[in-house]
Structures are given as C-alpha cells and as structure tokens.
Symmetry: C2
Subunit: 211 residues, 2 copies
C-alpha cells in the first residue's frame, strides 16, 4: 500500500520489520501480535512503523507476499539447474522443504491468512500455481509430461503433496539437517514422476505397431 | 473430556451444541466465538453447556474429532462399494469433496486448530492417514498398488492432493452441485492412478523376457 522506501536505510528498516513480523505472527498468532511487539523486536521506533506500513493488516499482506516471492525464488533457482523434468521436480520439492525448515512461520502465517486476509491467501496459492502450471505446460510441449494432463489441476495437486509432506516431515519431525529424510524425498519424486510423467507405451499399442 | 450423555435427549443436546459450534467457529474464528454465541445458536441454556463440555477448547477438540469421524466414514463408505482400487480412489475423493462442500467449516476449523489445539490437528491428520495407509498396503499386497511405494508417504501425499484441490475447486469455486467439476475429478483420478498404480512393464524388460 505504502510506497517503496527510497533509501538503503529505509529498505533495511522495512526488511527488519518484515522479519520481526514473521516471528511475532508465528509465535503469537495474528490477533495477539501488536505493532508495539513487532517494532520492539525490530528495534524500530513505533512511529517509524507507519512510514512503511499502513496497518498491522497491511504488514501481514506484505509479509505473505514477501514469503511467497522468496519460496518461489528458492524453488525455481533449485530446479533451473536440473537436467530434466524429474530432477527439476525433486530439486524443487527439496528446496520447498528446506525453505519450510528455515521459515516454519510460513505455514502458520498462511493458515492464519485464511481468517485474517483471504485475499493474501488466494494470491499466495495462485502465484505459486501459475508458475508451476506454466512449467508443466512447457514440459508437456517437450514431451516430458503426459499429454492428457491438465497443467492447472496437476499444479494444485503437486502443491498439495508438498504442503502436507512438508507439514508432516518438516514441521512435525525434522531430520538432523532440518529437511525431510532422503527416503521421503525419494518417495515424493516417485509419486510425482508417476503422476505426471509420460507413460511407457502400453503393450497392445506396441504390438499393434509391429503387426 | 466429559462423559458421554446417558439419554437420547442428552445426545441430541450435545449434537446441537456441536453443530452450532461448527457454524460459529467457522464464521467468527475461535477467538471471537463465545460459549454464549454457541449456546444461543443451539437454543440451549448457557449453564447446560458445561454438562457436556468442560470449556470452549474442549468443545473445539470434540468438534474436530466429530468432523474427522464423519469425513472418514463418508470416504470409506463411498470407496467400499468400488470394484477396484482406482474406482475406490475416485469414489473416496468424490466423497471427500462432497463432504467439504457440505461442511466448508472443516477447512477453517482445521486451520484454526494450528493455533488453538495443535494436538487436535495432529490427531485429525494422523487418523485419516492411518486408515488410508492401511488401505494402500492392503492394495499393495493384492498387486493393485506399485510395490516400491511407502504407503505412509503416499497417504500423506494423496491427502495433500485432496486438501488443495478441495480448497481450490470446492471452497473457492464450486460447481452447480457443490462438488468439483467432473473434469477436475477425472484429472485427480488420473494423477492418483499414475502416482500409486502399478507400472506397465517397461519395454526393455519385455524384450529381455522374449529373447
């Protein structure tokens, strides 16, 4: 809502407020988090807050957008280097789980958004799905994803796999490195590959071709 | 926490309080929902509330358990009649989406549980996964599910598909019947079948067998 800060110091203050908010919202929930708590944690005078954000709700919306941008960047950077679609999926999921381990607040904040700011919740999911569905459609054109798949439904479904596996194995029970165990990541890759990968031509078709 | 009601009238009062709570929690969120609002909506005297529940939190936990039992029953009844695993999956997902359409409060209440009662949240997911993973393991023994799958990871992944597809196509945009469009259900069945179904024997193996 408010304009972007025009100085490097302004950008730092804004970032400090967002980081403080991430912790305070996750710890106390939206209702009990106050601007005072957030400015105290950020080491910023209370009056300064309103140079950057209109309200607690405005800050909340910006925080959801900020986390959203960062999780998408982490996933796309991880999968960009992969040699094929399956490795890209695996790398993307690994990056999502690692981001979740570093920012466990993401889940709590997104779930709070259900009540606090449904608009921010929709935008969060829509933005992730948009890029994901585009990537699937592109892979479909290259023959790496089965042709009968609707990339939009597939993107929502795969996001659901990441969300619940991340909840179970990152938020509830992390391994030593804070990510999901390799075995779980292997299983996710197996499921995703089966779900979206091209089928081997069935036996009948091959025999028909040969006759 | 409190003991089960011993009369039919008691059971009706308890059910009325649970139903009222489902609506009040979903409309106002946990923090703003009060015992007074819930008893008013249920048409029950406020003092009567404490014959059935120890507190607002106790009622919340019971409500999560109640919705959990009902959604699991709806899914298992729908899939029990199916002739094979794939039809059973499709029927189970359809029943889950239909239940979500009838009880949109389920999502809001489960998401509130993240803050209000993490124990109830864990129990909700664990119970669904437990039955689901057992069903997958059984289907694996009958050769209907790929043998290299970990039923537990698969159950969490499939539950994630249901959760986000349900959010997108039931909560956000329902079709005329209140369920997900057939096209989306078809795509979900396709994805799930690909994810967990047995692979067609790959070409190389078949040629090796033939040589």
């Amino acid at each position: 809502m408010t304009s972007a800060p025009r100085t490097a110091r302004g950008a730092r203050t804004r970032a400090a407020l967002l980081e403080a908010a991430e912790h305070v919202f996750a710890e106390l929930g939206y209702a009990d988090a106050s601007v005072v708590r957030i400015t105290e944690r950020a080491g910023v005078a209370q009056g300064t807050f309103y140079l950057y954000f209109d309200s607690k709700l405005d800050l909340f919306d910006e925080l959801v957008d900020d986390l959203n941008r960062r999780v998408r960047r982490a996933m796309s950077e991880a999968s960009a280097a992969a040699p094929d679609r399956l490795s890209a999926e695996r790398a993307g999921f690994r990056a999502f789980f690692a981001f979740t381990a570093e920012h466990p607040a993401l889940y709590r904040i997104i779930r709070a958004a259900e009540f606090v700011s449904p608009r921010a919740l929709h935008r969060h999911y829509d933005r992730i799905v948009e890029g994901y569905a585009e990537g699937l459609a592109e892979a479909q054109r290259h023959g790496e994803v089965r042709p009968d798949l609707d990339p939009d439904v597939a993107a929502w479904a795969l996001m659901g796999i990441g969300e619940l596996v991340g909840m179970r194995w990152v938020l509830w029970e992390r391994d030593a490195e804070g990510g999901v165990p390799d075995h779980v990541l292997d299983q996710v890759a197996l499921l995703v590959d089966g779900a979206i990968g091209r089928r081997t031509a069935p036996a009948t078709t091959r025999e028909e071709n040969g006759s």
